[in-house]
């Protein structure tokens, strides 16, 4: 197949990504995955298979987790998208309240060393919290799901992790429970962990969420 002809100027598509309104001029059948990665520089969303099997490209689109490699850009008009970049860092830099829990997490050990990478800026500016999370992840406040992945070994090579985390955060934020983990996350492939550490991570986060809710419900 020759690349799509671009005789007519591509239409403009306006949508909200990680709380920020963006307009792109792309062919309507361009994959959402490519809009995010190539047009907006949001590279946390990965391509693992390009056919909706692996879930590495998972994002939340208008309240539902989707494989962004299967969704054409025309679906983005007026839509709200959350990517992995939109999960961490809100507490530090965003004055607006968010629906995502952002309380500081307590990890059992001393601070880790600074990563040697990354050092270069993306070609496109991204939202400031996302940029902070990318450049100085040790300063970003983690979503409880992210913190649980860190503590319970939910991430190994890390390539499936953003998609896995996005899907797990959707489960967490929508009040689903432990019984839903397997069903919701079965669309996200991981080749490293054997899933047990991921299940342990999500369960720990859900337990903490439910314990807090129970405590909050006390008179």
């Amino acid at each position: 197949m020759p690349p799509a002809a671009t005789a007519a100027p591509p239409p403009s598509i306006t949508f909200t990504v990680n709380g920020q309104e963006r307009t792109v001029h792309v062919p309507p059948l361009r994959r959402v995955l490519d809009v995010l990665r190539l047009d907006l520089g949001l590279t946390a969303t990965k391509e693992g298979c390009g056919e909706g099997e692996c879930g590495a490209c998972s994002v939340i689109l208008d309240g539902l987790p989707v494989n962004s490699c299967l969704v054409p850009a025309c679906h983005l008009e007026g839509a709200h998208v959350t990517t992995a970049e939109g999960l961490a860092g809100h507490a530090l830099l965003s004055s607006e309240p968010t629906t995502l829990s952002s309380e500081p997490t307590t990890l059992s050990s001393e601070p880790t060393t600074l990563p040697t990478e990354p050092t270069t800026l993306p070609t496109e500016p991204t939202t400031l919290p996302a940029e902070l999370a990318r450049l100085a992840p040790e300063l970003a406040t983690l979503h409880p799901i992210q913190a649980a992945f860190l503590e319970h070994g939910g991430a190994q090579c890390g390539i499936c992790t953003p998609g896995m985390v996005v899907t797990a955060v959707w489960l967490y934020d929508n009040g689903l429970g432990k019984a839903d983990i397997e069903r919701v996350l079965a669309g996200n492939l991981c080749r490293c962990t054997g899933y047990s550490p991921i299940v342990a991570s999500v369960e720990a986060a859900l337990d903490a969420r439910d314990a807090r809710a129970a405590a909050g419900a006390q008179p």
């Binding site: 020759p2 690349p3 590279t43 946390a44 391509e47 693992g48 298979c49 390009g50 056919e51 692996c54 590495a56 990517t83 992995a84 961490a88 860092g89 059992s108 050990s109 001393e110 880790t112 060393t113 600074l114 990563p115 040697t116 990478e117 990354p118 270069t120 800026l121 070609t123 999370a133 990318r134 992840p137 970003a140 983690l142 992945f149 860190l150 503590e151 070994g153 939910g154 991430a155 190994q156 090579c157 890390g158 390539i159 499936c160 992790t161 985390v165 983990i181 397997e182 079965a186 669309g187 492939l189 991981c190 080749r191 490293c192 962990t193 054997g194 899933y195 047990s196 550490p197 299940v199």
Partner: protein, 819 residues
């Protein structure tokens, strides 16, 4: 060599600190190769259309604007060159007899035998082999252009079944397409055929069976990816000639072994060491699949970059990755055992045949590990293992976690259950009577001098599964199901096995790994190793080891991203060696740094006797301690000054008593082994013939566990890869030997819904030559799941499966007696 105090108290080792790369990964901040900012061209590959043929021409179809597309074929690589670099590591390279001994063929991928071209010159040997390369600024245009190159060819006879001897026209290597053979003999087998047969003749029982295991795709979620950049110091006239000494070639990529790629690109470009730089980008999984293939992809990117004089990026799509890159070797194993009336193994006679694919690549080493592990953790007086790996016209098979061992361990562990069933002995009891004890010998004649308790560990694993109670419950369950013609059957199975840690025999001596640490002006210590973080947690474990070796905090340690301009060659990230072998070097290099600081009098040694703070390893040996703040100050001072006083070095030294004979395959195959029992509880549905793994216990002795969460993650991940290999993952060949199901829709990987929570148990017996007592664990968990789960299916149904993947179709045929 200083033996590390394995039992030394540690502050960081043994604790599950957050992995040092963890925050970047859970926030999506980690930039993998395809995430890096990039200005340049995108490469794509023109591939062979069938299994074997002679190229008669390339036709560039109408459509693409060919004037805007960079095209590279074998003609762009000088046929012969006088090597610039005559370093020791190229001396065993491929010399082209046609051109005289001083000349080498640059179009060869440097590995064990240099038989594989980067780009086919004349005859292609497998479907999807690389024939030409194209590049364009737009990736889609490059992919389209590659599809618009028609390869014109004459077909040649192809060998497609490794189990069948080749016809004369199919022979392409040696006399019979055999890449490598081994013969391992112990006891009567050393005297010859007649003596071994005499043992079989006198045995109460002889059991013979043939087992088969299929190919398996590594299926790292990040496909192969590479960026090549060529710099020229002199003004570049744009001439696409071959590199001269004013060239610097830089490759960054998703890879396991920077120095393998370094050697390959040095040879391809005919450049000396310091003109080629290989940098590992954060890597989205490897499992062996990024051990050897990255040398080829790096070469392709470099070739395009040399011609285009622009950076070139090559990222495979999933389909291409599965079609063109390596897989686990398919294997057929004939096993014949002699047993006495009580079920004691008297003799083992095995013949192992592996499918090497079209080029030698790593096949001899894979076969070697499979050959050595054939005998398993059993005391057998008389052993003969004859093995060979043969050429077929399929994509070369290569490294995949376990590296030949899972294949022969599957055969042996399945065979033991077959023996047990035929003799009417419980499979557990049969193992109890044959497992090796301390002082016993394995198939290579290696005496086991570790305090092992294989029977005790097997019983502990069974107890964790509640084996005896479940056995009773399953018998009742199966009777109840059968009574009402209901379809479910349950069964239990186990496997007892071991995995040799590090390179085989004298391999580690040949590697002669070197590692450096250096003091930084910040007072931190940087670890410089070529070993790559590919998910297993190497970076974190190195930081823990260094912190404890120095008596500092983990935050005081920086682990450098592997870059051949910066890090010494500490060997490849393979063979379960990174924590054990290289981690040991980390600890020793830290000691060396402390000693240098002391000799340079930047650090006054404290008087003997107990003090406060943590214990440096070296200081521990001398009964001294350094107070962390003083050490940090000394490090900062040395780091600011730089020079050799700021560096600590370590080079591999073998443990004493390791003697290995590469000719006879006798001796200490591995310095140590990790030992394991895996137990599976399955339920089979006789309507769908699906096998559901209800529960899985993985118990292993791995020396000291350096990081429990990471170690459990390694085991659980390996177990699920093993379950996939056993039950789901089937590489289907098309008529030309290509992969017919090269996608994740029809090549089925286990999902979260397909596997149980893996229950991981560790036994820890510190090993004296690993850091703080650690052994290697990376590959071990690939070995046991397949035989354990298939033995459980045999138990549930009373059938004897001999081949994996045990798909529903295969199991149906077996139950119907068409097996």
């Amino acid at each position: 060599m200083p033996v590390l105090p394995a039992a030394a108290a540690t502050t960081h080792v043994g604790r599950s600190i957050p992995r040092t790369d963890g925050r970047a990964k859970v926030t999506g901040a980690t930039q993998y190769l395809d995430d890096l900012p990039f200005e340049g061209l995108h490469g794509a590959t023109v591939r062979a259309p069938t299994a074997r043929g002679r190229i008669t021409g390339l036709r560039f179809k109408e459509g693409p604007d060919w004037s805007q597309i960079v095209v590279v074929t074998h003609r762009d690589i000088p046929r012969f060159a006088r090597p610039i670099a005559r370093a020791a590591d190229t001396s065993h390279g491929h010399h082209d007899a046609d051109a005289g001994p001083e000349h080498v063929d640059l179009n060869r991928v440097a590995l064990i035998e240099w038989d594989q071209p980067y780009l086919v010159r004349d005859e292609f040997r497998h479907k999807h082999e690389a024939i030409a390369l194209v590049a364009h600024a737009d990736r889609a245009t490059a992919v389209w252009a590659a599809a618009c190159v028609e390869v014109q060819y004459e077909s040649l006879p192809a060998a497609l079944d490794y189990r069948v001897a080749p016809q004369p026209g199919q022979v392409q290597h040696g006399a019979a397409n055999v890449f490598k053979r081994y013969l391992l003999c112990k006891g009567a087998a050393e005297q010859g055929e007649t003596a071994l047969e005499a043992v079989f003749a006198k045995a109460a029982h002889v059991v013979a069976e043939t087992y088969e295991t299929g190919a398996q795709e590594q299926a790292y979620i990040e496909p192969q990816a590479m960026i090549a950049t060529v710099h020229r110091a002199a003004p570049d006239d744009g001439d696409a000639g071959w590199p001269t000494l004013d060239f610097h070639v830089r490759v960054e990529g998703s890879l396991q072994c920077p120095y393998y790629v370094h050697q390959a690109i040095k040879h391809l470009c005919n450049l000396p060491d310091d003109h080629v730089q290989i940098v590992q980008a954060p890597t989205g999984g490897g499992f062996g699949g990024k051990e050897d293939y990255p040398s080829i992809l790096a070469g392709h990117a470099v070739l395009l970059s040399l011609k285009a004089r622009r950076p070139v990026k090559m990222v495979y799509e999933r389909v291409e990755d599965m079609q063109a890159t390596t897989k686990r070797h398919p294997c057929q194993t004939h096993v014949r055992t002699a047993l006495d009336a009580d079920g004691r193994l008297l003799a083992l006679d095995a013949k192992v045949v592996m499918d090497g694919g079209a080029y030698v690549t790593l096949s001899p080493v894979v076969l070697s590990r499979g050959t050595i592990h054939m005998g398993g953790p059993y005391e057998i007086a008389h052993v003969r293992v004859a093995s060979e790996v043969v050429l077929t016209n399929t994509a070369p098979n290569g490294a995949f976690r376990g590296f030949g061992a899972p294949q022969t361990i599957f055969a042996m562990e399945r065979h033991l259950d077959v023996c047990a069933h035929r003799l009417g002995i419980d499979p557990v009891e049969l193992r109890r009577r044959n497992l090796v004890k301390r002082g016993g010998t394995l198939a290579t004649g290696q005496t086991i001098d570790e305090p092992i308790d294989l029977v005790g560990w097997m019983d502990k694993a069974r107890a964790a599964l509640d084996w005896d109670a479940r056995r009773t419950a399953h018998t009742a369950f199966n009777l109840a199901q059968a009574a009402v013609h209901a379809p479910l059957r349950r069964g239990l199975g186990l496997a007892t096995f071991m995995h040799g840690c590090g390179f085989t025999g004298s391999g580690e001596v040949w590697l002669a790994s070197k590692l450096k640490v250096r003091a930084l002006a910040t007072g931190q210590v940087e670890v410089l190793a070529a070993n790559t973080e590919i998910g297993q947690g190497a970076q974190t474990v190195f930081a823990q080891i260094a912190a404890d070796a120095l008596g500092l905090a983990v935050a005081d340690i920086v682990v450098a991203q592997p870059d051949t301009d910066q890090v010494p060659n500490s060997g490849p990230t393979v063979a379960s060696r990174t924590s054990m072998v290289v981690g040991h070097l980390v600890a020793r290099a830290c000691d060396d740094l402390v000693v240098r600081l002391e000799s340079a009098e930047r650090l006054a040694a404290l008087p003997d006797g107990p003090g406060v703070g943590s214990v440096s390893m070296q200081a521990h040996a001398r009964g001294r301690r350094h107070e962390p703040e003083r050490l940090r100050a000394a490090l900062a001072k040395a780091g600011a000054a730089g020079g050799t006083d700021a560096e600590g070095w370590a080079e591999y030294e073998p443990p004493p008593g390791v003697v290995w004979n590469d000719q006879t395959y006798r001796g200490t195959a591995y310095g140590t082994y990790a030992w394991a029992t895996y137990c599976a509880d399955v339920e089979v549905d006789l309507v769908t013939f699906e096998v559901k793994v209800r529960d899985f216990v993985a118990l292993q002795e791995v020396g000291r566990v350096l990081h429990p969460v990471l170690a459990e993650g390694q085991i659980a991940g390996g177990v699920v890869q093993g379950l996939g290999w056993a039950l789901l993952e089937q590489v289907v060949a098309d008529a030309d030997g290509g992969m017919a199901n090269a996608n994740l829709t029809t090549y089925v990987l286990p999902t979260m819904a397909d596997v149980p929570r893996v229950r991981v148990l560790f036994e820890e017996q510190p090993y004296g030559y690993g850091p703080f007592g650690a052994k290697g664990i990376g590959e071990l968990p690939m070995d046991g799941p397949a035989p354990a789960v298939v033995n459980a299916v045999a138990d549930a149904l009373g059938v004897e499966p001999t081949a994996i993947p045990l798909t529903p179709e295969r199991l149906l045929r077996l139950v119907l007696g068409e097996g």
